[in-house]
């Protein structure tokens, strides 16, 4: 398949080649039976932990599967650590680990046998695979249950076994598809803790696909929001939160009514919530300094002033609205 000139240029760009992104999307498109699922995705993802978000059917899982080489792109391409997903699929597969969304195991095998087999298939010699299978199962917290058959495991244990098989060969990039699906709160916390530990080890990058915003918020530093097969938002979570400093929470003492009247004159939107608290949306041209001056003029004490940071939910909902105006 001949690549378009713009794509050829991107593929041979020396800057991109020298410092490969974790995932480089080069106009990646996928269609099943003529129905487009991913539509020309572009961007380079460089986060330590990248959260993949989007409503159902947005193409999150399809994107992961395409990056893993399960589907061939209809147009465009992508690179993982500089390796093309079509031409160098085998190299990529030796660098990644994958924890699928659905139940996935081999029946009538003990966990240690299963994880060892997966390690061997990744290229580890027999002894190393066995050793690392034990270690991976201990690491995810299944050490005591590692000789039990997988079909006797609870849902939470199966999730952990899936994580163990994904990390047994020590991949550079981990794809985790809905890793907390069906887990009870303690099991979910344990899973989140493991993901954060792997992220903080600096030994592996993570792509976490989840419909649970809280999971992504707790684990990821970057997010990619997909909407209808297109990228709605790709941002650094912390920077995105910081950039939105227009929303303030104030705690005051004194004559709040006068202060509120003055705020109205400045053109700020506000809402009072009792207990001397105020929520303010700053309008263009109005700075925090103006609020202090106003408070001094009206003899109102400002006891507390804090920016309300956008939660991931805010970012997500904004992304959905910006693109289509409705969910």
């Amino acid at each position: 398949m001949a690549l378009p000139a713009s794509l050829q240029q991107e593929l041979t760009n020396p800057q991109t080649l020298n410092d490969p992104a974790v995932i480089d999307l080069l106009g990646l498109s996928i269609a099943f039976g003529g129905r487009p699922i991913l539509k020309g995705l572009r961007g380079d993802l460089r986060g330590k932990a990248i959260g993949l978000l989007g409503p159902n059917g947005a193409g999150k899982t399809t994107l992961i599967h395409t990056l893993l080489g399960f589907y061939e792109p209809t147009a465009g391409s992508a690179r993982i650590f500089g390796h093309d997903i079509v031409d160098q699929a085998r190299q990529i597969k030796s660098l990644v680990g994958y924890m699928p969304e659905r139940d996935a195991f081999i029946a009538q095998m003990s966990a240690v046998h299963f994880v060892r087999l997966m390690g061997e298939l990744s290229g580890l010699p027999q002894e190393a695979a066995l050793e690392r299978a034990h270690e991976a199962l201990f690491y995810v917290g299944l050490g005591e249950a590692r000789y039990r058959k997988l079909e006797t495991y609870s849902l939470g244990m199966k999730q952990l076994a899936k994580l163990a098989q994904a990390i047994v060969h020590g991949p550079r990039l981990l794809f985790l598809d809905e890793p907390t699906n069906g887990l009870d709160p303690p099991a979910r916390l344990r899973m989140i803790k493991l993901i954060r530990e792997i992220r903080d080890s600096g030994q592996a990058n993570i792509v976490l696909s989840s419909h649970l915003l809280l999971d992504v918020e707790e684990c990821c530093d970057e997010i990619l929001i997909l909407r209808d097969g297109q990228i709605a938002v790709y941002c650094n979570l912390e920077e995105e939160r910081k950039s939105n400093r227009k929303f303030l929470m104030l705690e005051t003492r004194g004559d709040q009514a006068k202060f509120v009247e003055a705020l109205k004159e400045l053109g700020c939107e506000y809402a009072t919530s009792g207990d001397h608290r105020l929520k303010i949306v700053l309008q263009g041209g109005v700075e925090v300094r103006d609020l202090y001056e106003l408070a001094a003029r009206e003899q109102v004490q400002l006891r507390r002033l804090s920016y309300k940071r956008d939660s991931l939910e805010d970012i997500f909902l904004k992304a959905m609205e910006n693109n289509h105006g409705s969910l």
Binding site: R90, R102, M109, E120, L121, S201, A204
Partner: protein
């Protein structure tokens, strides 16, 4: 990543050669297969005819043993192409039952539990997966078919002399090709059925059906149309003809029947077998269908279009 450290660490050791990774599947599969005492016992029984074959070859060359048993050489079956062909066919029958026991769960178990993405997200292709799963049967069945048969041929050659070996080398090829074609067919059919049917019992039934139901139809067609061309539908008959062709015992005349005319006279009808090339052609067609099915079913995820 030591157990006590409990930290994530990348693997930096040596890797196994890529070409040999498909053999990981049979190695792990045999651990499960031979856990069953019943299967192990049956597998041992598969060697009994080979033992008989070895004894017969030995008796042919040991007059003392014949004397003790009060037998003459001419009373024993001759060691010729028919002798080896009979035992190749007999072992083929055992191979069929081994395939029936081992084959059905090989792919179906992975499909039932969505394990295919776990194989295919690794540096392990679909071809290697199919090859690995087929190797489970190919290696196991080789141990009861062409490997011991070949060794017995060499045993006979050793006892008879190099002249016999040189004259009958073609028989070694017939043993090898006949057995390999049969076990390849068994492996392909059981994998294809295993990929289509997720339940072991039903898959076993389906394999039995594939071999026996068309044979019944074949005989029915032969009876109605007074021919042997119905054999093209029967896998067992196809293999029988191919084996006969390899051992040089194939004739296109499958027999004759006498029919009484209305005037009371009789006429003879020769029942013709389909030509050998057509038997081979049908066999290739069956194998191609099985490969097509495997290629369709062995995917990480099925795409709903």
């Amino acid at each position: 990543m030591a157990v006590y450290e409990q930290r994530y660490k990348r693997y930096a050791g040596p890797l196994t050669p890529e070409w040999s990774r498909f053999l990981i599947i049979p190695r792990h599969a045999y651990r499960g297969v031979f856990k069953s005492k019943l299967f192990t016992a049956f597998f041992v029984i598969c060697f009994v005819p080979l033992l008989v074959e070895a004894i017969l070859i030995y008796l042919h060359h040991n007059s003392n043993a014949l004397g003790i048993m009060q037998l003459q050489v001419r009373e024993l079956v001759p060691i010729d192409a028919s002798f080896f062909q009979t035992f190749v066919n007999l072992q083929g029958g055992f191979a069929f039952f081994v395939a029936l026991l081992v084959g059905p769960p090989l792919v179906s178990r992975d499909l039932r539990n969505n394990a295919l993405p776990l194989y295919l997200c690794r540096p392990f292709s679909r071809t290697e997966y199919v090859l690995g799963k087929m190797s489970v049967l190919l290696i196991l069945l080789s141990f009861i078919t062409w490997i011991p048969q070949g060794l017995l041929f060499l045993f006979q050659s050793y006892l008879e002399g190099f002249g016999w070996f040189r004259e009958n080398l073609w028989m070694l090829m017939a043993i090898f090709v006949g057995s390999v074609v049969w076990i390849l067919l068994l492996a392909l059919i059981s994998q294809a059925v295993s990929a289509l049917v997720k339940w072991r019992v039903i898959a076993s039934g389906a394999i039995l059906g594939i071999f026996f139901i068309p044979s019944v139809f074949a005989e029915f067609i032969n009876l109605v149309f007074l021919t042997h061309w119905g054999h093209l539908m029967s896998l067992a008959a196809l293999m029988r003809n191919i084996s006969a062709g390899l051992f040089g015992t194939f004739t296109d005349t499958g027999g004759t029947i006498r029919l009484e005319n209305f005037d009371g006279s009789f006429r003879e009808i020769i029942l013709r077998e389909p030509p050998l090339w057509l038997n081979w052609g049908m066999l290739f067609l069956v194998c191609a269908i099985c490969l097509g099915l495997l290629s369709k079913k062995v995917k990480a995820y099925e795409v709903v279009k």
